[in-house]
Symmetry: C2
Subunit: 677 residues, 2 copies
């Protein structure tokens, strides 16, 4: 699972009824009754506080936990890998070779990692809602909410010195002020090599059985010394047994359990099939192009890995939406709410239906699916930033407002290499896709192709553009409207050609989006008025508790046991011919016979998680650390919309496996000592 990135969209509320082991629960409203009834365990305030203060949020979108009183933090290798890469040099490839600080002095300071530990939660709903007056327009209301939120955060920070975030819960049903202790001096302590950490690569991504040592250790420092962290999770080598109750504490990023059935149907019938079609095209063509040449392969690698990850996630989610039983469950849960908010549901249905009329043109012409080129994106940005800058701030498209300028400039003037051969391939593919979707005889399509075939037109456009040169971009950016108007760059001309229609489509989509948001707020209000905060809200990258049991499942006729072992990992390595992504380092191969083959390696549990939970600790009733979340299996990916425990599972690294390799493969005795004593 890739680290979760903070969402740019917030979806609205329709709260599911919790069943089975479902729920990403607020620490202020834990599932005390549910766990008591089902498992006979009493969640106490002390137990919760200890877990909360042992939990760590990674600023780059993951989770972790303290595992010693001296600030030692356990998380996933794939959460830390961005840092590990930044700490690498040409001579010192820490991803490839791994890292171990044999002494405290060797721990490596990360350049820009912020960790947060949640200290307190305050309900500020009354203050926020009081700021919004009856009769305000949606824009005015939003501005008032923004203002009061900023004020609450500012005052809290001034009073406490703590990072203070107002979190919108239940789609506006509640607002909570989360205060965090920040750690900004974070050092890398230990990381295995990436071959072991990401064993199985893309083929095994989102699968189970699984064999990943997806862990690493950082340490929080304060005043140049290891932080004192009295709240930490005690290491339990034996882990949890089959059917044992376990909890996770982490920061799930975003779920869409509140979207309506009509919205899910749109995704099922239109959005996801379209996205998949695009993924299948892109992956096939990039792989074929990769196969032609080793340099092509190098250039396309990142794009292919991203596409493959998206393919697996999208397919699993679509398969969930195509499960009539899950959709029926959604319909049933919606039925009760419709009694009080029928009209809002109907408005969403109409809006979804209306959007089907223009959504393909929107995707192709405004969304960029019909162009497929990063350079075209740059051309459009240059054109629009020039046009938008001439308008008053309040009338600009969101991404051209002053607050977005730094990130816009970062993108626009990035020196990231542009490969014209790969750009041509992608654009030819996108133009062919455009013809298939809007029709070769469509007037806009004909003007885009300018009398040429997709291949010939893509070649002409990409060969002809000079936007791959950052200095050219800079001049156009700084030259503003006049410079862009004078440009004869073929991609700038193309962006101009479609801009009026593309902007028109964007306006229609924004209007639809506004209707839907408003309806969702009404539904959420109706629900919240009735149920209050007795249910759990959609995920918001804030701390949540989930519970479940260690448990296998049936896949067709095949029994999937709850854990794997080193024996199976080595068997997979050998069966796959010991080649990437199933290879292991020389050091591993030399020392592998020392590993106890029956030690559990990865295990699965029914906990309700999603992206952002990567690195979350799994704890037992005693609050001891019995696992490290690193992935969902494919059936679990549908948790974006529904929790399902038939086959959906959270996948974790077992503490015994971490201990075993740190001792026998990596010989990281200093860290091991700190962990287990």
């Amino acid at each position: 699972m890739r680290p979760f990135l903070i969402p740019s969209l917030v979806m609205a509320a329709l709260l599911p009824v919790a069943r089975a082991d479902e729920g990403m629960w607020l620490f202020t409203k834990p599932p005390v009754r549910q766990v008591k009834e089902k498992y006979g365990f009493e969640i106490t305030p002390q137990w919760l506080e200890h877990l909360q203060k042992s939990s760590v949020r990674f600023g780059n979108g993951g989770s972790g936990s303290f595992v010693s009183a001296n600030g030692l933090i356990l998380t996933n290798h794939h959460v830390g890998s961005g840092m590990i890469e930044k700490l690498s040099t040409k001579e010192r490839d820490l991803l490839k070779n791994g890292f171990y600080a044999a002494t405290a002095g060797e721990e490596l300071k990360c350049p820009d990692l912020e960790l947060n530990v949640l200290v307190s939660i305050e309900d500020v709903t009354a203050r926020v809602t009081a700021a919004v007056k009856d009769g305000q327009s949606p824009d005015e209301a939003a501005a008032a909410r923004r203002a009061v939120t900023a004020d609450i955060q500012k005052k809290s920070y001034e009073a406490t010195g703590l990072r203070s975030d107002v979190v919108t819960l239940y789609q506006g049903g509640a607002y909570h002020l989360y205060r965090y202790h920040r750690y900004t001096d974070v050092r890398l302590v230990f990381a295995p090599d990436v071959m072991a950490a990401a064993f199985g690569g893309d083929p095994d991504n989102f699968e189970f059985p699984r064999y990943c040592l997806d862990f690493c250790f950082f340490r929080a420092y304060e005043n140049d010394a290891p932080a004192k962290t009295p709240h930490f999770l005690k290491w339990k080598t034996a882990g949890a047994q089959e059917n044992e109750l376990v909890f996770t504490s982490g920061h799930p990023g975003r779920t869409n359990r509140s979207v309506t059935l009509a919205q899910l149907e749109s995704m099922r019938d239109s959005g996801f099939p379209h996205r998949l079609e695009q993924i299948f095209r892109g992956e096939t063509l990039l792989r074929a192009w990769s196969d032609r040449d080793r340099e092509n392969a190098r250039r396309a690698k990142g794009a292919i890995v991203g596409t493959q990850n998206g393919r697996k996630a999208t397919m699993a989610r679509l398969n969930g939406l195509l499960d009539p039983a899950l959709m029926a469950r959604k319909k049933e849960s919606e039925a009760k709410l419709r009694e009080t908010a029928e009209e809002a549901f109907t408005r969403i249905e109409h809006a979804e239906k209306a959007s089907r009329e223009y959504e393909m043109r929107l995707r192709m012409l405004e969304g960029g699916d019909g162009f497929g080129s990063g350079l075209f994106g740059i051309a459009r940005t240059l054109l629009r930033v020039a046009d938008e800058s001439a308008k008053p701030e309040g009338e600009r498209l969101g991404e051209y407002r002053q607050a977005s300028r730094p990130s816009l400039e970062l993108d626009l003037l990035s020196t990231e290499p542009v490969y014209k051969d790969m750009e041509t391939l992608r654009m030819a593919n996108a133009l062919t896709f455009l013809c298939a979707k809007l029709g070769a005889t469509d007037a806009t399509v004909q003007s885009i192709l300018a009398g040429k075939s997709p291949d010939a037109r893509a070649t002409e456009l990409i060969q002809g553009t000079t936007l791959d040169d950052v200095e050219v971009r800079r001049k156009l950016y700084e030259g503003g409207k006049e410079a862009v108007a004078a440009s004869a760059d073929p991609l700038i001309l193309l962006a101009k050609l479609v801009d009026e229609e593309a902007r028109g489509l964007r306006l229609r989509a924004d209007a639809t989006g506004e209707v839907i948001s408003q309806a969702h707020r009404e539904i959420a209000t109706a629900r919240f008025a009735r149920d209050g905060d007795s249910a759990y809200p959609d995920a918001t990258f804030s701390l949540r508790l989930s519970y479940g049991v260690v448990k296998g499942y049936m896949d067709g006729n095949v029994t999937i046991p709850p854990h794997t072992t080193f024996w199976e990992m080595h068997e997979r390595h050998a069966n796959q011919g010991a080649i990437a992504p199933f290879d292991l380092t020389e050091a591993w191969k030399e020392r592998a016979t020392k590993l106890d083959p029956l030690v559990p390696l990865n295990f699965i549990s029914t906990n309700d998680i999603t992206g952002g939970n990567s690195g979350s600790p799994v704890v037992n009733r005693e609050g001891e650390l019995v696992g490290l979340i690193f992935d969902s299996n494919a059936p679990g990916l549908v948790s974006d919309f529904f929790y399902t425990e038939e086959k959906g599972r959270a996948v974790s690294v077992h503490p015994a496996a971490i201990q075993e390799v740190m001792k026998k493969i990596y010989r990281a005795d200093r860290v091991l000592e700190e962990l287990t004593h």
Copy 2:
């Protein structure tokens, strides 16, 4: 290019005006005037006869030529590879290791290869057309034509002992009787290893520059001795120079240059995009599944190679149909004919338009795209063969008539292994595709899915069926209608569930096809009445002559020179890390330094070719062999519809390269001696 397989559909006529080096010309109507005017060369009857009698047709769908007076035949390795595989044993892998008969006695007899040499051509148009009476229904006319054709063939065979085929030309404008000398004792003489023959594999398939030693040698025998072949092509080591006039003589399989603009538009807007979407899905999923496991990779290899070949060919053809200039040319050439056959063109337009209403259901439910499983195909065959056998012969669907029984039984009772894991993958994919195309709420789709998600339903169906067992199939086949009616096999039940709707769609499509065929016959008649046989007819796997010049082209800003060398081949081998499909044998690597690096390896020319021309000789004005056709480049693949010489090229092996490797790598002196002396 894969060997051409004889077409099951014959497309109708709209004859293009020959320009540039266009044309697959009949030997009875060679392009004498065109070649004289453009190149100043006079094609004489003697020159033609020699070339005709030196040309060989391979029964499995390829071409070749005699290159010695003792029956030595040159063709492509990929034309011979089926035979080479059949001649291999577990201990003797002739594909992998190549083959050289160092003595005449070691030449290996092929189990089932038939070669044909065209001896004479007789125009039988009058006899055929006289058999069809005015006022007959289309069915009656077709039956009368079949009867007279069979009679002509039978009488010719009895009189001459020669294989006698009546060939339909100009979509019924003319009928020619082709008489062939047959060779049924054919022996393998020499084949290089497949690494050299198919160097570059799929990545380089349909590409240029290219580096393939795609040749091998057979020998025709009669009475257990090498056949006497006084007509053979003299070997010219120096080959042809840039811009030199060259001819090919071979057996292009099928072209669709006669379809109407309305039909091309249907392919462009619907048929090809659908096919590509299916290919992209299939290739992505099969490759991802392959990557998971070496055994998966072995199982999926053939399916992946086939899909990849189809992808490249389909993409190139679609790109051609999306070229407005080519479509305008088609429109222009059609305009003249519309003056006399306007109504027939209009009928085709209406038929194409009408078919858009049901074609997606047709593809999904009758074409099988919505099921994707070989086992489902078996279930449907079992169901239908039982139903159809109960009907009179004349009322049965074509594939269930008596004449098709042997091949039906061969398929149905094949012991080819069935992999249920791969079947499940393919069926889950197809069911998801079905939902996307017909909609998840469609009544038929819902009954197919039976309340489950595509993944779950596919798993259930494939796990539950016993049709992978040949004995189960045999019992159902032999048990007929009663046995099939009693079967509870889930795939049989599924086939029953959709059969009524699927058969209904088939009837609609057949009716549309009949309207189109009839209209085409009218157009062809109008055209033929006006122009006679001055133009060339669409390809029909009968002997054709094409002309052109050795010539490079521009690909964007890149100049593609007309030939490659060993130096470039070795550079590609090294640059790609010497791994498959760019690897070479150990023997090659040892001896490579002996090769003259500047010897031309593959070259391109403007000759008009298509599938079936694989193995065709390229000859110069003197009728000497100067090359061996083995592929089109990607822009040339559009030749199915239009000839284009802007970038479209035939790709050949150069005789100097064959000579060089036979001498220095394979040390096949005996064959070399025979070739060059």
